[in-house]
Amino acid sequence: MKATLDLRRVGLGLVAPVLAILVAFVVTSTVLLLAGDPVVEVWTQLLTAPRPRLVVAIINGASVYYMSAIAVAIGFRMNLFNIGVDGQYRIAAFAAAVFAGQGWLPGPLNVIVSLLIAVVVGAAWAGIAGWLKVSRGVSEVISTIMLNAIATGLVSFLLFRVADSTAGSNVTNTKTIPTSSQVPGFALVPGTPNKVYGFILLAALVGIAYWVILNKTRFGYDLRATGRSETAAVASGVNVKRMVLTAMVISGAAAGLVGMPLLFGQDYSYGTTFQPGLGFAGIAIALLGRNHPVGIAFGALLWSYLEQQSNGLQITVGVSSELVFIIQGVIVLAVVIAYEVVRRAGLRMEQRKVARQLSDQPGSPTPEGVTV
């Protein structure tokens, strides 16, 4: 019984993203046709198997996106829209970079303490929005957007103060992390010297923790209940205000980790070139992956794949790589609609099924009859 139900549910779950990707394919092709661009060549470029060097880049990009999407998903599961992952990861990465660059602690210990700092700073920054919502009723959407702007300004301002400006360069960076605290990568992909971030393990850990906390703990139950029906959660004894604050803080803590693979595995400092916009990608990926740790992993890979594969478009077929934003945008729009359509269809299917199974039972079942 359970197995069949779950299979059906998985099937239903797959329908929506597949539909969304198809819609994106059609819309993008139409755009290309209207613009008079070579449709076939564009898709050939996008769909040929990536070179090993690109495979590494895709995996690395995905691991960062993954954590960002998980941070967003924590909020989503409670109907909280943490738009502020973007600001949270940047301010956290900056704080961790400043600390790690000092090299006050030896090797791995430096890394661990820096991670803790990132978590605390991200949590605190998100906590401001949580506190405003709980105490003043400020919508978290508004406050996190504001906090993003503030974080951007604050980080630029502070970066200028602590910058370790190398002579002859206009790039502003924090001090480079000592070699002993740089996290080595894994040579997972043959055929390229490039390595996969060591912190891909951190991303996996975050995903597992997300799943376990949400599905296996009392706290996770309360959180999901609040997301499904706040009124029912209140009546069941959930302290919703505390829950909002806690969820926001945890989401921020996860957001704090987003920049860590970049910091410790690639850039080794925080500077003006540190990758921006991860938080917004996280929102899209969380929607696409339906807040599920595995779904999000696929979403993150798809995002990263599209981005890396589109890099060559300009050179090979003469089409701007910004095309990929159209694809991504359409996917997100389509997936939101498709999920709702599929959800309703699923509900109807289930109600029909329950009605059918009950009418198949002869007469009214005795209590013993229903016991499984």
Binding site: N215, Y221, S229, S236, G237, A355, L358, P365
Partner: protein
Amino acid sequence: MVAPAVELQGITKRFPGVVANRDVTFSVQRGTVHAIVGENGAGKSTLMKILYGVLRADEGTVRVDGKPLALHGPSDAIDAGIGMVFQHFMLADNLTVLENVVLGAENLHGIADRARAEIERISAGYGLNVHADDLVADLGVGIRQRVEILKVLYRGAKILILDEPTAVLVPQEVDELFDNLRELKSEGLTVIFISHKLDEVLSVADSITVIRRGTTVATVDPKSVTSRQLAELMVGSELPSASTHVSTVTDRPLLAITGLTLAGAGVRDVLHDITLTIHAGEVLGVAGVEGNGQAELVEAIMGMREPTAGRILLEDQDISDWHTREIREAGVGYIPEDRHRHALLLDAPLWENTMLGHQTESPNVKGVWVDAAGAKAGAERILAEYDVRTPSIYVTANSLSGGNQQKLIIGREMSYTPKVLVAAHPTRGVDVGAQAAIWDHIRRARREGLAVLLISADLDELIGLSDTIRVILRGQLSAEFDPDVVTAQDLGAAMTGADQREPGAVADDPGTRHTEAGRETHGVEDGQ
């Protein structure tokens, strides 16, 4: 022989997986009140929607005045002279009666003096006592309903469908409505009246059609049947009754509330100086017109609202400033008024629903971890013991019928060793079968020594189940009524304040009977 006003023949309507109506056949004579009765879910509403053109029948014909009618939408029905008064009023509060009536029918009599004259004419002609320039917000439930009727008449309806019109009324208003219906009938209009309250149907209808499981089982003459026979036609089996038999009331107070006050936004308190005691084995029923403080009383007890003053004692512990979760853990079971909003996670599987509200209690959790195996075993047990009809514990709560959802909720609340059960409208919107089961469970709770606070709008249910009845009016509790001697009329009078008693005055003698509470009806305008 004149053709019947409405004639339905062989109406069948299928929804995916269910047949809502099967071969429904009956006819309604002009100038009569024809009642359609059946339990919830029997298919009454579907049938009326077909007649009003909201849904289309898969098979069968509808004839009006002998002419077959193709209904593609409500406008076709209106053109054919069919009007419908829905259970939930569709009036804009901040507009006047006139504005509400002409809304959407502006081209009939304009929007000003001609319309006003027409409204006054209809109102006077049928004794509706509706005034065109009253603001709807100031009107009570009874008058609002008459405005709805007037709206339909204004659009030229000769056949009126009333969907459960008495559900929102107190007994005095029901009498007024019935007077109106007789007036309409005498003017040659035809009324189709949907209900499941049998005594009402027997008193007003000229003819009764019984629907069971989507099909018409009989059309009977109200003069020749008793309400019991009618009910048996509806259910198709022996009927349960709400009475509780032997008293199990002890002298051990389990829930004692003293001086409970909840300040409101305006000058008047939402709850004012509420004092009540429920003993082990006692069911205390609270009657009242909706919106008089029942919901707030329940929320204050459950810790969802902070009382302004007063104490709530559970046994000998003051729980008035406890949090909801602590109150639930201490043994207060809670059946909320609105099960979809407050008692269920509709998208979650049943086994997650049977732990809702008890997600800190065994067998659902071990320490900080959810014990899924324990919770699922608990769910299986609750569903079996409380006869929740479902194929498995993995389907979502959304896929169950209302009665099964409610049985699940009651089973859940009874399964974690409660001392007190707070039940708000436990049988609202469930079918007769589930209602009987729910009554049984409340009786069992009482036998097992629980203190039960029963809030209900169904006076028969209150009289049948309660050991003591109090009436709540404008946030204050009335004297105690003895359910063995009190009548629905007495309670109705107290609910509207028509009994001229000082509300909140507690009689010394719990057996006080409110005699001759007064037939002069005031409506509930001041009770709102």
